[in-house]
Symmetry: C2
Subunit: 218 residues, 2 copies
């Protein structure tokens, strides 16, 4: 796997991985330039499973980020590290209770929804995978809609973009991919739309990555 | 659901929930006294699903913690809030790279292993649930063992107890419950054993909670 001759951080990423997208948004918001190494989760039986990639990330998942001499994985751990080392613009509010709300919403998506509908688990579920994905996204969105009614302003928590928003947009993208009816979630839908107007969410979009196949490019 | 007439934090918890146990360890380590409201995930079709509990936590999961006038859910969001508001003893190292390692290991367990073998998903999987749970725990532990070889001292990251350790011990408990062979994971096993010698891990143990059934009490 490539290291960066430029000295820039290197992101191991897959265009359609929602976890990779979260980190791409964080990097874009914070104005961090980076090199991207595509890891195709479908090709060659999953390039994340190769011995070569296992050296980069023993968890055999994207994203992984080489930065400051270390390699990090797990999207939220990466974003928290970026937040601590490159605090501007901030992705966690100053107020402790609001920070807790941001982390609660982020964890709800990252632990409570995404893992139950990711590629690996759906491959294991087999033919009922669409129904399975819809079940877990719907379940998670019902709770999320209730929570956002209490926490949201223009975005998930108040009027500042936060880590929670970096989790929301890729999860809504997955919901659309699995044909979940979003009509029952007006707050989620409204916030998602507002976020997609921001440049950082656009440049990091799955349709605009170096490894996006030509037929999916926007 | 009860509020606390004493003004102490109230933890909504289930004795055998590994996510609840993580928070109980944090509360014990930080010396925070609290009242506990048991939420039985099996009784009455799951007490976490009642309308009454949904008011407490729309995510319909334990743990939830009422503290400082707010109600938080998601174990890591709760622990991060406790860390920010009650920093002693600390559960995140001072060094930023080590903090990132702690969060990476925590997220690997909390997002990458536990959700794939929790009660709700195993109920859905049905008769193959033991094999399913073993598959995901084994997968996760193979990666975790590799990571810990780089990060561990006496505990998961160096020689100080951290948030990662609060995630490790309940996950090993689940592994034992689902009869996963732990022989291939000497580092995990060694750290787990060292942690179980600490009082905070003992008093918070599933066998010692107010709602632990008599036949499981230790």
């Amino acid at each position: 796997m490539a290291s960066s001759p430029s000295g820039k951080p290197v992101l191991y990423s897959y265009f359609r991985s929602s976890c990779s997208w979260r980190v791409r948004i964080a990097l874009a918001l914070k104005g961090i330039t980076y090199d991207q190494v595509p890891v195709n989760l479908l090709k060659d039986g999953g390039q994340q499973l190769t011995a070569e990639f296992q050296v980069v990330n023993p968890m055999q998942q994207v994203p992984a980020l080489k930065i400051d001499g270390i390699t990090l994985s797990q999207s939220l751990a990466i974003i928290e590290y970026l937040e601590e080392t490159r605090p501007n613009p901030r992705l966690l509010p100053q107020d402790q209770k609001k920070r807790a709300q941001v982390r609660m919403i982020s964890d709800h998506i990252v632990s409570g929804i995404q893992p139950l509908q990711n590629l690996a688990i759906l491959q294991r579920v087999g033919e009922k995978k669409l129904e399975w994905a819809q079940h877990y996204i719907t379940n998670g969105f019902q709770a999320l809609e209730q929570i956002l009614k209490h926490t949201a302003g223009r975005y998930c928590v108040g009027d500042e973009v936060s880590m929670a928003d970096l989790c929301l947009v890729p999860q809504v993208y997955n919901a659309e991919r699995y044909k979940v009816d979003l009509a029952p979630y007006p707050t989620i839908t409204r916030i998602n739309k507002a976020l997609l107007e921001l440049e950082a969410f656009q440049v990091s979009h799955p349709t605009k990555q170096p490894d996006t196949p030509a037929e999916l490019r926007a």
